[in-house]
């Protein structure tokens, strides 16, 4: 009896004392090195004999390259090598769009350039300054060609062709139909159409792209250090471009990367350039992108024009949608069509609408390439459905909140299959909506704002939206519409080792770009093994020679909390199983009788006979004859965790593109100065369901950063080109990033519903909170300007656009036709200075 009591008591203490770090706002492990300047970013490490690369870029938006003469540059005493288009054609294979567009790109312009800033030659010199000097000594003869900058014009038969071999600028076009759209439009009580437009902008990670390559002529191994977000997928294409076998190429990413946001997914041409130069010189070659190179040529968030027809019942149920999506790809097609299919995947948003036609076009233009930027196509996806909801509300004179309520997917219908084949895991959208209305005091605010409208020229407004936040990519979606995928599924690897001292090291196939992955992993591992977080070292860097990795490895697509954490947990459990076997054999019991508490292994029936994790490790490494019969020495396990439910595209636009679907409700309070057209975000509210959360402090930080970035994209930021295709916003002088002075209050809350599809019930957070911001601010500004009847159809909401819209609305009232004015940087800056 006494013995039984002991057991019960011990169990109770175990439960009580069970260490739990997951779910707590643990201070980050990374911060000690980052606050003291001891981080290690790519350009912080010098290799013996490092040389520096500079890149000559096209001054034309579209031109034929007639001749490149590098003789004078090569004669510069500090220059070691120069490569031109002719060289790369000879020495390398194309770094083709790995996502399916049927054209061949090399790492430098060969024969032709298609946007301002496209690389045409590269230099390696003994110091940074000489490398730049040498660029001026390279003589390039161009034959300028007519340019096409507007995607709608680019679609016309007669427009100049960027890729003559294709015979068209439409590099991808597919039409998919889900449900019965004709029927929906037939039985609808109301139908309407509208046209929306998203602009080019970018998230500008503070650290630019960096690539260091070192072809060691002794080992004949090419060692590459870069801050790419997608080392896994890039590896194969780099090997192909350089004609090197995989075991002679080592790709590494350091533990510290100064932000990514998608902009560092596309650095393959640059890694190829530094590698070719290193193979020529036998010296390490480093290229550090300048800010203006980053703004001019690294790529921008995909801009697009969307034509939408909607059909609804008179009760406000949206029953049919026809969407024509014209996505502008720019002049380099790495990501062509991916923004389209990314958008398609979640096109119904948080709503039930089932009958949808999606007609998507990817169009080449003479501008910088469209690249991932806090999501691929997701901002467009949300903008389309949320603006359509607002429009529908207006058509029916219903409130914008009420219209959403009438269309939301209900709590009881999860898991919910959408028209495009997504399975939404779990959530309570209505509750998110209710809560955001509550914390933003939506109802009473709007009443008083309307009352005060126009006092001292101030117009206040509020917008409220919802959004889904897809997490973990199934690569099959890249080939949506084709039955045969290039790649499919998704997986990440982790290696967990309990060292002979009983301490733990962990390595995963991805690095962090500032999201605190080392901390989150240590939280999870310490819970699994019941050890202190300080006993766990997470090796933050990535290395194709030593990391457990797959083609999906990297930091993108909101995959961390499902795949990376999944791999870490499974690998940890494998090691734990083995430790239990060792402890059980030593303690002469069965492994299922052993528990771990505070780093000790014991059987609750005999709690005094304890082994520390160090004792177990000692047997595993040092006292091998005490291992249970047949058990392999060592305590190390690798696990590759994969997207369990991934499927292959049906060829009809249906594929389970993402594993988890976090969601959130957003509300914004804005003020518009009708005189100057200036929009100010006063306060922003987010109620978020990212599933179970590993570290709330980090997740809240992600919300802040994403909201800030997209709010700035909504009102400040825009990539502006002149008629000749010159980028006018190529430095932080002309491209406006928000300072602390533009920032507003952000209030956020969590209502987590655990995902049934991940081990810890996590969903994802990353780009998520960024997705609905454009639509929320558009809605709020429209609300503020409702006295004028202004409609917001295109972004960004710059002062002159707002002012012109107000003037136009007034003129319309007076019967004078409205003039559209193009954005103009100088005027915008003047406007901002004034205010």
């Amino acid at each position: 009896m006494v013995r039984v009591w002991r057991i019960v008591e011990t169990m109770a203490t175990i439960l009580k004392s069970k260490k739990r770090n997951v779910g707590k706002s643990v201070v980050r492990i990374e911060d000690r090195r980052l606050t003291t300047g001891r981080g290690s970013f790519v350009d912080d490490v010098k290799r013996q004999g490092t040389t520096y690369c500079a890149i000559l870029r096209s001054p034309y938006a579209h031109a034929r390259i007639l001749k490149v003469d590098a003789t004078a540059a090569l004669a510069h005493p500090n220059v070691l090598a120069v490569i031109t288009g002719e060289d790369v054609r000879r020495l390398s294979e194309p770094v083709s769009p790995y996502l399916g567009a049927p054209v061949l790109h090399y790492c430098l312009g060969v024969d032709k350039v298609r946007f301002v800033g496209e690389p045409v030659a590269a230099v390696a010199a003994t110091d940074r300054y000489s490398a730049v000097d040498a660029l001026e000594l390279i003589d390039v003869e161009y034959e300028p060609l007519p340019t096409v900058l507007n995607p709608l014009e680019a679609m016309e038969e007669t427009s100049p062709k960027l890729f003559e071999e294709l015979g068209t600028n439409v590099v991808w076009h597919k039409r998919f139909e889900f449900g019965n759209v004709d029927d929906a439009f037939e039985r609808a009580d109301i139908k309407f159409s509208h046209e929306l437009k998203l602009h080019r902008y970018t998230s500008t990670p503070l650290e630019t792209f960096v690539s260091t390559s070192w072809f060691n002529t002794g080992t004949r191994i090419l060692d590459v250090w870069s801050n790419t977000q997608q080392a896994g997928i890039m590896f194969k294409y780099l090997c192909r471009a350089l004609r090197l076998p995989g075991h002679r190429v080592r790709m590494r990413v350091p533990a510290d990367v100064g932000g990514g946001f998608g902009l560092k997914c596309g650095g393959l041409p640059y890694i190829t350039i530094t590698s070719l130069l290193s193979m020529k010189t036998g010296r390490p070659v480093t290229w550090v992108e300048t800010r203006s190179e980053h703004l001019t040529a690294q790529g921008h968030s995909a801009a697009g024009v969307f034509y939408i027809e909607a059909a609804a019942t008179r009760e406000g149920e949206l029953i049919g949608l026809k969407i024509k999506d014209v996505e502008e790809e720019g002049g380099y097609l790495t990501w062509a069509s991916i923004h389209n299919v990314g958008k398609l995947a979640g096109i119904n948003g948080n709503y039930r609408v089932k009958n949808i036609v999606y007609d998507g076009y990817a169009v080449a233009t003479n501008k910088a390439p469209a690249v991932p930027n806090r999501g691929i196509g997701k901002k467009g996806m949300n903008f389309i459905i949320e603006r359509t909801m607002d429009r529908l509300a207006d058509e029916l004179s219903l409130s914008r909140v009420e219209i959403r309520r009438r269309n939301l997917i209900s709590k009881s219908s999860f898991p919910y299959e959408t028209p495009s084949g997504q399975v939404y895991d779990n959530s309570d959208y209505e509750r998110l909506l209710d809560r955001v209305l509550e914390i933003s005091d939506f109802a009473s605010f709007r009443e008083s704002a309307l009352r005060k409208a126009g006092k001292e020229g101030r117009y206040l407004g509020m917008g409220v939206t919802l959004g889904i936040e897809p997490g973990t990519v199934n690569f099959s979606y890249h080939s949506t519409g084709d039955a045969m995928p290039l790649r499919s599924g998704a997986a990440e690897g982790a290696r967990v080792k309990v060292e002979s001292t009983g301490k733990v090291t962990v390595m995963v196939g991805s690095v962090s770009n500032g999201q605190g992955h080392e901390t989150a992993i240590a939280q999870v591992v310490s819970d699994e093994l019941q050890v202190d977080m300080s006993d766990v070292t997470v090796i933050g860097e990535f290395d194709t020679f030593t990391s457990p990795w797959t083609v999906s490895s990297g930091v993108y697509g909101n995959k961390f909390s499902a795949l990376d954490i999944g791999a870490v947990i499974m690998a940890t459990r494998k090691v734990k199983e083995k430790m239990l076997l060792i402890a059980a054999s030593k303690l002469r019991t069965k492994s299922e009788n052993i528990v771990i508490e505070d780093g000790n292994f014991f059987a609750p029936s005999a709690p005094d006979a304890k082994m520390t994790i160090g004792d177990v490790a000692d047997i595993a490494y040092n006292n091998l004859l005490f291992l249970p019969h047949g058990l392999e020495p060592g305590l190390e396990a690798v696990h590759y965790y994969s997207f369990p439910e991934a499927d292959i595209s049906s060829g009809k636009g249906k594929v389970r593109s993402f594993l988890t679907f976090a969601s959130s409700a957003h509300a914004a309070l804005v003020e518009v100065d009708a005189e100057t057209g200036k929009v100010t975000v006063v306060k922003y509210f987010v109620v978020d369901d990212s599933g179970n959360i590993i570290n709330p402090m980090i997740v809240e930080g992600q919300i802040h950063g994403n909201v800030a970035a997209e709010a700035s994209a909504a009102i400040l930021e825009e990539m502006v080109y002149d008629d000749g295709g010159q980028l006018l916003s190529s430095t932080f002088v002309d491209y406006l990033k928000p300072t602390v002075k533009e920032m507003f209050d952000i209030q956020s809350e969590f209502i987590p519903t655990p995902s049934p599809f991940t081990i810890l019930g996590t969903k994802s957070v990353g780009d998520g909170p960024a997705i609905p911001v454009l639509a929320t601010i558009a809605s709020a500004v429209e609300d503020a300007l409702s006295p004028f009847g202004v409609k917001i159809d295109s972004m960004p909401l710059t002062p002159e656009k707002i002012r012109n819209a107000i003037l136009g609305a007034k003129r319309n009232v007076a019967g004078i036709p409205r003039e559209d004015s193009e954005p103009d940087v100088a005027a915008r800056r003047a406007d901002l200075k004034q205010t």
């Binding site: 706002s25 201070v27 980050r28 990374e30 911060d31 000690r32 090195r33 980052l34 606050t35 003291t36 300047g37 001891r38 981080g39 290690s40 970013f41 350009d43 912080d44 010098k46 940074r128 300054y129 998230s203 500008t204 990670p205 503070l206 650290e207 630019t208 510290d256 990367v257 100064g258 932000g259 946001f261 550090v288 300048t290 800010r291 203006s292 770009n513 500032g514 999201q515 605190g516 402090m697 980090i698 809240e700 930080g701 802040h704 950063g705 994403n706 909201v707 800030a708 970035a709 430095t731 932080f732 002088v733 990033k737 300072t739 602390v740 002075k741 920032m743 952000i746």
Partner: protein
């Protein structure tokens, strides 16, 4: 040309080209890589260091201008015993750090503010770090961290400038 200066209390001396920027001198010649580069127009503040007691953007200063100067970079900022300075601690505890690329500049700009103003208002804080861009945090937790250091300063106003 010769540059001779004191950095973080140590003497440094080297020959440089006249056009070399201070930020490159620190990073490439002296391997003090905690000072970062985020732009080419003096807008981002990632390269902020203290020169003769004042913050400067080291990408806007020539190395030769630092001759005879007293410079402090982030590497010299922690407490002598290796403990984090209260500003660094506040940045970590308030999650004012994401990628950490802006952090050295932010920390030094905060230090320069608190040296002159032990009780800064919200707008003092915003003015002080206006020249430091952060792409990750939306500044929310950075402002919070700075407020928390200011609030927790010992009443006798133990001055930070002597550190």
């Amino acid at each position: 040309m010769k540059v001779k200066c004191r950095i973080n209390g140590e003497n440094y001396e080297t020959e440089v080209e006249p056009r070399l920027l201070l930020v490159h001198l620190l990073r490439d010649n002296f391997n003090l890589t905690g000072t970062h580069i985020g732009c080419d127009t003096g807008h981002c503040g990632a390269c902020t260091v203290l020169m003769d007691g004042k913050t400067v953007k080291s990408c806007m200063v020539l190395a030769v201008q630092a001759n005879k100067a007293e410079i402090m970079t982030i590497e010299g900022f922690s407490e002598r015993d290796g403990e984090l300075h209260p500003i660094q601690r506040a940045f970590a505890e308030n999650h004012a750090v994401q990628c950490g690329y802006c952090t050295p500049g932010m920390v030094l700009s905060t230090h320069f503010l608190l040296m002159r103003n032990s009780n800064p208002s919200d707008s003092d804080i915003r003015n002080a770090i206006e020249g430091n861009l952060c792409m990750c945090t939306g500044y929310v937790n950075i402002v919070k961290a700075i407020k928390s250091v200011a609030a927790s300063r010992e009443p006798d106003g133990q001055s930070l400038e002597n550190r």
